[in-house]
């Protein structure tokens, strides 16, 4: 009989608390979104499962010695996982469209306004009772507007580790929602005639240009923004492995096996931060709202900048491609292509949108570097 009581006392049923059940429901919701709705399944599935595992009473997964504890401690606290993913993203990125039309970098810069506007918004939210975001917290939240998962996780792990779970979930959820969030903003800010603008075919780019590009980016980072070197450096390493053509084995590993392995543990570790005491707070709600605002503003400023460039170039640039300036590669570029096709059946903007799209990745890495340099201390 004693054995039975001891068993009962250790069982999940006897130990559940309300908040834990709620967080398991959040995990289940993420699993549903990943499996049934196809929202960023590569990350939301392990995050959702991690959230469930982390909230099992007496499971010990997230306590010292548990798997999730170590995954977080080794991979995220140190910033290693997001950086490895960034290397893989670099190896997956083709800068050809950007090198052919480097002015697109300005669109990638303009769309980062979403980040800094949200920084202001997060601080302003402190006026509402119940919110107390420090400048570091605000910066980590604002980077959601960069629409770049690894960058957001990297910055959050450095500036506001206690908010990491909510920030990562917001960042990846909104990236999945790009096709829903962006088109209304894009249509609101452009006229039908502007959306129909066809763009000139991009020029050919030589292999040498592609090899020099990551080195040039790295060189500039070394000179002007060393704080961004972890992100930009790993990104450029991946890209150089891809473009040099002499280390295909390494490049393939970075693009496939390595990024996949890291993604599993990154997802689990982020999920483990979705514990009831940290996630079920008013602040989480604020983060979700601010993240959506950041995305919207970034899209809007990207489109507005593209409008200005379109006017200056005498109508050679379709303003829609500005929306791809928030990174979210390649989803944002596909959205631009789709909206462009709606206006003109024969207008394929995908290649043109890839330029600002990869520029956005660089832009948000630079923005993260600035925030780290100013607030990292």
């Amino acid at each position: 009989m004693d054995g039975l009581i001891a068993f009962w006392a250790e069982s999940g049923i006897a130990n559940f608390t309300g908040p834990q059940l709620l967080m398991m429901a959040v995990g289940a919701l993420l699993l549903y979104l990943a499996i049934a709705r196809g929202f960023e399944p590569l990350l939301l599935l392990p995050i959702g499962f991690g959230a469930i595992l982390a909230n099992i009473p007496n499971g010990g997964f997230t306590e010292e010695g548990g798997l999730l504890y170590y995954a977080y401690h080794v991979g995220i606290e140190t910033g290693v996982f997001p950086l490895l993913i960034f290397m893989g993203v670099g190896a997956l990125t083709d800068f050809g469209a950007l090198i052919a039309n480097p002015k697109m970098l300005l669109l990638g810069a303009a769309a980062q306004f979403g980040i800094f506007a949200t920084l202001l918004g997060a601080i302003a939210l402190n006026a509402v009772p119940g919110f107390e975001f420090s400048m570091q917290d605000a910066a980590a939240i604002a980077i959601i507007g960069g629409a770049d998962g690894p960058t957001a996780i990297f910055l959050a792990s450095k500036l506001a580790p206690e908010l990491l779970g909510a920030i990562a979930v917001a960042a990846y959820s909104y990236m999945a929602l790009v096709p829903i969030i962006q088109p209304p903003i894009m249509k609101l800010l452009t006229t039908e005639a502007e959306r129909q603008i066809k763009m000139e075919q991009l020029r050919e780019v030589s292999k040498l240009e592609k090899v020099i590009f990551p080195l040039a980016v790295l060189g500039l980072t070394i000179l002007f923004l060393p704080a961004a070197t972890p992100l930009v450096g790993m990104f450029c390493l991946g890209n150089l492995m891809r473009e040099s053509g002499v280390v295909d084995r390494l490049s393939n590993t970075a693009q496939n096996e390595l990024i996949n392995i890291v993604t599993i543990f990154l997802g689990l570790a982020v999920g483990s931060k979705l514990s009831a005491d940290k996630f079920l707070q008013l602040e989480t709600l604020g983060i979700l709202v601010l993240g959506a605002v950041a995305f919207g503003i970034g899209t809007a400023t990207g489109v507005l900048m593209a409008k200005v460039m379109s006017k200056l170039s005498g109508g050679k640039i379709n303003p829609l491609i500005g929306a791809a300036g928030v990174s979210a590669v390649p989803m944002a570029a596909r959205v631009v292509n789709k909206v462009g096709l709606q206006a003109n059946q024969q207008n394929f903007l995908l290649m043109h949108a890839m330029g600002p799209n990869v520029a956005g990745v660089l832009g948000s890495a630079v923005a993260a570097g600035v925030l780290l340099a100013v607030l990292g201390g």
Binding site: I99, P102, L106, A109, F113, L119, A138, Q201, Q346, V366
Partner: protein, 82 residues
């Protein structure tokens, strides 16, 4: 409330600084890319290719130029995916 105003000012400063730096950084990068392109872009090959494709288009009057545009765009899309 005073500290609130101070914080907002600081956030504004970071905003101005951040956007400024992002723009300066990427503008310099534009310069760098243009410099590299000026030196290493495959210019001589481009003209004959363009001429050749134009010549092909005009030498097959049976093919609708619209169709050619569609196929070109489709090929581009396909290449972009790879």
């Amino acid at each position: 409330m005073d500290s609130m105003a101070e914080q907002l000012m600081e956030a504004l400063m970071i905003m101005a600084l951040g956007m400024g730096l992002v723009f300066i950084f990427l503008t310099i990068l534009i310069g760098a890319v243009n410099l590299v392109a000026w030196k290493f872009a495959p210019k001589p090959n481009l003209a004959p290719i363009a001429e050749a494709s134009e010549a092909q288009v005009t030498s097959f009057p049976g093919i609708d130029p619209k169709m050619v545009a569609v196929i070109t765009a489709a090929v581009h899309q396909y290449r972009a995916k790879a």
